[in-house]
Symmetry: C2
Subunit: 192 residues, 2 copies
């Protein structure tokens, strides 16, 4: 999506260690009118799939997932991250390893809000190694719902998570795929 690539080049900051900071419009401050356009793009890509539920994970996925759910006129469910194993009620729970923090946390969705008959589109802000997304996919499978596909705003192609999912036959749509970054020159190469 050209609009997004332009925004990343203008507002993104590249830091050492292949870190792309997009705090100014996606992760901390959120450019809501801009995210609305991204939501429309996800809608256009999945509009023939009879999506009736958007699934994401707290926190930074919620705004883009809400903007997407708005286009589909459907509810959004956001999975919660548990640090304690203080489980109560009827829930789906799957462990996810945090690549960034080197810890394991539980991803939780109430059984009340996901199940057979649902056609689920998973939306997240970033797709890198894909651990969080894999956790959400596990939960969708366990619930008996149909997974329509996954949408990520920014995919870090060089971390391979997106391509691994595609190899498993899962439809993954990323609005921008970063293939490489150079923090010294401040350049970003996108996949075509």
């Amino acid at each position: 999506m050209e609009l997004l690539k332009k925004k990343i080049l203008e507002d993104g900051e590249i830091h050492e260690g292949n870190i792309l900071k997009v705090d100014g419009f996606l992760n901390h401050q959120i450019d809501v009118p801009f995210l609305k356009e991204l939501g429309k793009e996800f809608y256009n890509r999945f509009k023939n799939e009879n999506v009736n539920k958007i699934l994401t994970i707290e926190s930074s996925g919620i705004a883009i997932a809400a903007m997407t759910a708005q286009e589909f006129e459907c509810p959004l469910v956001f999975a919660k991250k548990s640090i304690t194993k203080n489980i109560a009620g009827d829930i789906y729970l799957t462990p996810v390893e945090s690549f960034t923090h080197g810890t394991t946390y539980g991803v939780i969705v109430s059984k009340q809000f996901l199940g057979k008959g649902d056609r689920v589109l998973i939306i997240d802000d970033f797709l890198a190694v894909g651990n969080a997304l894999n956790g959400l996919i596990e939960i969708v499978k366990e619930s008996g719902a149909d997974l329509v596909g996954c949408g990520a705003v920014i995919e870090k192609g060089y971390q391979g998570g997106g391509d691994r999912l595609r190899k498993h036959g899962i439809r993954v749509e990323s609005l921008a795929v970063v293939e490489s970054m150079d923090h010294e020159n401040g350049t970003i190469e996108f996949r075509d």
Copy 2:
């Protein structure tokens, strides 16, 4: 707001200990088309205040804040909760006591995204004791921005947080104020 009261009566669950669960449309599963109407209501109440920034706190405030920011056509900043005191960069940080969990956490906003000249509307899903809101207000003050007011979807009037803020001259608009609940009869009384 009558539409919201009706929704709370229909979809809310009252549990022992004055607990109101609205997981079905506000806190876990989010009824996005419905929240859009709430965002319009906040806009109508604050539209003459030249709001240029919505501020909320992760996680459950983000969706309603995004829906509100959309009406104002302005950005949204969501404050992050730090558990560790691992502070980096130029940030506003204020400690907040969690009434529910009995712990203290830090509320963090990057200085880059809030400052003099901003006219800030704080939005959150719940207003009870008001600790989280007080933390956000502290940050707005520290940043030199103008606080236009606070908007909460559901205020628990009997916990007094909203009225304490009003006494201090802060404009607080809650779309529904719960005065009392009876979990045995399943009844809720709203403030007029």
